[in-house]
Amino acid sequence: MKITVAGKDRSDVLVREITAAAANLSDAELERLLAGESDLLLLNEAEKTDDYLDQLITLARHRNSVDPSEMNISAGKGIVAGLGRALRRCLWKMIRPFHDWIAFRQNSVNIMLTYALEFEKQERQAAIRKLEERIRRLEDGRKTEGGNR
C-alpha cells in the first residue's frame, strides 16, 4: 500500500497508522452481510450479458423477501440511551403485526415479479432456440437445393 499526500510519499507513517486503525474496526453484523454480498459482487466477473442476467435472476430468487426478524435495535451507552432503546423495542412490538402484514404482501409481490422475470427469460431462450433451429433447417435446405441443381 502506498499513500501520497500533497505529492509526498507518506506511506511510512500513514500506512502503519491506518492499518492499525483498520484492524480495530469490527462489526459482526456487517461482516455477515459482507460475506453474503460476495455473490452480488460476482456480477463484476460476468463475461457476457447473459451470464450477468443469469446471476442476477438467481440472486433475485434468493433475495426476494424482506425478513422482519433482521430488525436491529442498537444499544447505546448510559441511562437515557437505555431508556430510548427500551422505548424503541416497545414501539417495535406494538407495530410488528402491521409491519409483518405489509412485509408479507410486499414479499408476495416480490416473489411474483421474480418468477415473472425468470419465466420470461426461459420463454425468450426457448423462442431463440426455436428460431435458431428454424434458420439452421432453412440453411440446410438451401444448401441441399443448391447441390441438386
Binding site: M1, K2, I3, T4, V5, A6, G7, L14, E17, I18, T19, A21, A22, A23, L25, S26, D27, E29, L30, L33, L34, G36, E37, L40, L41, L43, N44, E45, A46, E47, K48, T49, D51, Y52, L56, L59, R63
Partner: protein, 353 residues
C-alpha cells in the same frame, strides 16, 4: 487563412466533460474571430443542449477549414471526419477498456473495442493530435503516432463554482459528514469499492455520515442496479444515488462535501477532481491513469487498499485538521497553476494550420 474551425463529437450532453471541453474551445475560437460549430450525431444529443450544436449530417468540411474530432468511442462521426476535405485534428480523450463493460453491456463493450481498433486509422488521417493528458499521449506514442501534443481539458476553476441549488444544499446539510463521488456510474469507476469502504466507515466509525454519488446512471444501468442492490443489502440508507445533476445541483454537492473520494481504475484525466479542488474539498483518489497528472502533485492518493483501510483513511482525512490543511494548500497551488494555463496557445496552433 480564415476558414472555419469545426468540431465533431460522438455525443453532446449537459455535464459531460467532453461536451464542456468542446463548448469552451468553440468559445475561444469564436472570440478569435473564427466561425466555429459543434456537430453531433442527432440521436446522441441531450434534450437540454439541443440548440447548442448541429446535426452531424449538416457538416460540410471544405478545403481551407479545420476539423477537430473528439475521440473517445466509436461513432458515425469517424466516417465523416475521415471523409472531410478540411485539415484534420484529433483530440484524444482516451477509450475506456472494453473489459470493464463485459457482462454489463456487451454492445457497449463491442463499441469500445471497435473504437480502439479504429484508433490507428483515425490517427493516421490527422495532421495534428491533441491528447488531454500525458498519460493519453503516451498511449498514442506507443501506437507509433509522432505528432502528439498534450493539451489538457479546457478548464477554468471558476467554471466549477456556480451558484449552488438551495434545495440540494438543504438536503445534504444537517451536520452529517459527506463523502462525495462525482462521475458517470460506470464499471471502470469501481464505485462498489467506495460503497464497501463507506459501509465500514458508517458502521464502525461515524454513523452520522453520508456517501453522495452524483452522476448519470444511464451509461451502464446493469452496473448501477448492482450498486443499488449492494447498498440496499448492506442497509446503507445513507448512500445517496443522486443520478444526473445539473450545474447548480453539482455545485451544491461540492459545497456540502467534506471529502471527495474516487476509487476509479481507469481515467484519462478526471475533471471532477479539479472541480472538487476548486470548491475547496480535499480530494482522495487512486493513483492511476491520468489522475496523478490532473492533480499535479496535490491532494491525497493511494494505490491499493482494503475497504476497512480505506474507511480508516476517510476518518483520518475527515478529522486530522493539519493533514486537511496540507492537502488544501497543495490543491490551491495546483489551482493557481491551472489558472495560469494559457488556453489561447493551443488555439493559435489550431488556427495556424
Amino acid at each position: 487563412m480564415s476558414g472555419r474551425v469545426d468540431q465533431l463529437v460522438a455525443g453532446f450532453a449537459e455535464g459531460d466533460a467532453i461536451s464542456r471541453d468542446a463548448r469552451r474551445l468553440r468559445g475561444l475560437l469564436q472570440r478569435s474571430g473564427r466561425e466555429s460549430d459543434i456537430f453531433v450525431p442527432a440521436d446522441r444529443v441531450g434534450e437540454t443542449v439541443r440548440g447548442d450544436c448541429l446535426p452531424l449530417e449538416e457538416y460540410r468540411g471544405r478545403k481551407g477549414d479545420v476539423v477537430l474530432y473528439h475521440y473517445s468511442t466509436s461513432s458515425p462521426a469517424t466516417r465523416v471526419f475521415l471523409g472531410s476535405q478540411a485539415r484534420r485534428v484529433v483530440r484524444y480523450h482516451n477509450i475506456t477498456p472494453a473489459e470493464f463493460f463485459d457482462g454489463y453491456d456487451d454492445d457497449l463493450a463491442a463499441e469500445l473495442r471497435e473504437a480502439r481498433e479504429g484508433l490507428r486509422t483515425v490517427l493516421g488521417g490527422a495532421e495534428l493530435v491533441w491528447a488531454v493528458s500525458a498519460f493519453n499521449a503516451e498511449e498514442l506514442k506507443r501506437l507509433g503516432t509522432a505528432n502528439v501534443a498534450v493539451v489538457p481539458l479546457f478548464f477554468a476553476p471558476e467554471d466549477a463554482c456556480s451558484e449552488p441549488d438551495p434545495k440540494t444544499m438543504a438536503k445534504y446539510g444537517g451536520g452529517l459528514r459527506n463523502i462525495l463521488f462525482v462521475g458517470r456510474i460506470a464499471p471502470n469507476k469501481c464505485v462498489e469499492e467506495l460503497i464497501l469502504a463507506f459501509a465500514w466507515y458508517h458502521t464502525c466509525i461515524n454513523p452520522a455520515s453520508r456517501l453522495i454519488l452524483a452522476g448519470s446512471e444511464r451509461s451502464c444501468p446493469r452496473y448501477y442496479a448492482m450498486l443499488r442492490m449492494l447498498a440496499a443489502r448492506l442497509g446503507l440508507a445513507n448512500v445517496c444515488f443522486e443520478g444526473f445533476v445539473n450545474e447548480a445541483q453539482l455545485s451544491a454537492c461540492y459545497r456540502s462535501a467534506h471529502l471527495f473520494a474516487c476509487t476509479s481504475r481507469h481515467e484519462g484525466y478526471c475533471l471532477p477532481l479539479l472541480e472538487a479542488m476548486a470548491n475547496g474539498v480535499p480530494v482522495l483518489t487512486r493513483a492511476i491513469g491520468g489522475m496523478p497528472e490532473a492533480l499535479g502533485g496535490s491532494a491525497a492518493m493511494f494505490d491499493e487498499m482494503e475497504p476497512r483501510e480505506m474507511a480508516a483513511l476517510f476518518q483520518r482525512l475527515l478529522t486530522d485538521s493539519a493533514l486537511r490543511g496540507e492537502i488544501l494548500d497543495s490543491q490551491d497551488r495546483r489551482l493557481e497553476e491551472l489558472r495560469h494555463n494559457d488556453l489561447t496557445e493551443p488555439c493559435r496552433a489550431l488556427l495556424a494550420l
